[in-house]
Amino acid sequence: MFKRDSVCTYTMESSVPLLEIKNLHAGIDGNQILNGINIEIGAGEIHAIMGRNGSGKTTTANIVMGHPDFDVEEGEIKLKGDNLLDLETWERAKRGVFLSFQYPQAVPGLQVGNFLKKSVASIKGEEAAKGKNFRELLKKSMKELNMPSSFLSRYVNDGFSGGEKKRFEILQMMLLQPQLAILDETDSGLDIDGIRTVATGINSSIRGTNSGALIITHYSRILDYIKPDKIHVLIDGKIVATGDSTLATDLEENGYDWLEERVKEGGIN
């Protein structure tokens, strides 16, 4: 498949999805949580996963990032066609996978400024963490997220408010410029202004790029600002419905019961 671009050259449009999760079965300590998940995200796309507590949303995020506590029993996870399951967490990060944590870890004693530099150097190379370009990107990103420069001398997530933690996760995403950003309930605990600010950061990092994002959320509020290309609904470790942004509105208004009923009736597989 060929596509004509604006400077009259021909390039091959990649048919390989950015992220491909195929028939993923996984669990922890012998408890099955995911029962055959399939998701495919193309470059430049933003998808969302919605579902009740315990449906497997955070587990999916942790498994893509390579959390050692989870066991993958079956299935595949590929980033641009490369198998992620054989890689350590830090290798996945270097390949461009980023997870914005629902509950980011506090590390007292580790200064934010040093942490960011080390992280950017590890993922994008030593040169990327040095000089004017890094400083300018840092300054611009912090301004966009309404973060004061004094933030840099604090310790990682130590004593941060809920909103500060989420902004800090987005700041890291903006600096690391990942191929795939997974945002695990980044909107929870944020007020309306916070959601708007965070959504701006996500849009500016993903839209118009070759990157993609998977947003995990309970609520449709953040999706009003981000407008995902697809929404997947997860029930009991399985995606039971996929649709456009109107699906989020339906769920907000009617809850999950109607979907569960349809699953029980065998109407959705």
Partner: protein, 369 residues
Amino acid sequence: MNAINRYKEVSGTTDKADHLWRYTPWKKVHPTGDIKIVPEIDKEVKLRLINLDGTDLAEGISLQKGNVLEEKIEDIDPVATSFIKAVSEKSRWVLRTERKFTSEAPILLEIETNSDFNSLELVLDIGEMSEFEIVTLIKGESDWTGFLRTGRIGDGSNINDITVCLQKKGVLLRLDSIALGRDANMNTGTVSSGSERTKADLRYRMAENGSHLQVLGSILSREDMYLDYHIEIQHDAPETFSRLDWHAACGGKSRTIGTGMLKVAKGSTGTDAAQNFHNLLLSKDAEADGIPELEVSESNVVGCGHGIANGPIDENQVFYLQSRGFSKSDARSALIAAFLNSTLVKMGSTVLHEWLSKLLTSELDAMNK
């Protein structure tokens, strides 16, 4: 009575099995193992007093040999104290600052311990309203080092005082007995990644109203090290404040011990005091003990608390850092450094903190090799 006879008198009443402050038998830290022996140490310990940045020392500070004042130090263990006094005949020093002495640059007191046995007695005589930072760096390859430090921090002084122990081997017996004057403010820190065996008894007395003390520890033990620290803080006056915050990271087959004793005398109203020990266990074979104790004889206090937390590196923190591109070993190193930095950062100015951080980083690198 001379110092040797004094030692023989007090040690004669001590059973060999007696522990110095419970955890370390005296014979284990005695230079020969036979507590009846008082070895003759004929070499003096070399000291050097300079500014950390290489500039000239400010006027008003001096390091002089001899002239040790008779300090009231009976609060420290009499056996260890009299022993160090008995073997420090050739190395008695006084570090004195004049009234209102100030120094912008941190000061470095280097103690080289390269002969087999070293023992040193140092008296601090800090003039009123002095303001400076001083690092005492103990380094070398001595088999045995004794270091007794006594003295008084003058009224209204503001001192950051850090002792860094980086001896590559041997035994370190370290004793502090420091009194704080009225409204004196002292941050006293210990950074240690050295000696095979350390026994330290560090005692601070809030002798007068309004004194303010922070005792901090950043301890890294590895291999077969055995590092035993006892810290005692005595509140003897009203409206005094103290905090003890002790962090020990313990790897290899090493053992660290931290015992704290917080005493509040009757009449020390308005005392605000707390002590906390945190131990990070880096291997299955490492052992860390923390024992905070309180003896509070005054009921009208702001607060007196103590706490302890022991545990391994948090694997969720490791996962978080790995998700940001840190390899597993980098993540662990960063978490150990952060743990030790939590107390290190409180020890002094930004300049001093940078110097201490570099030192600690090189010790951590050595551990990871």
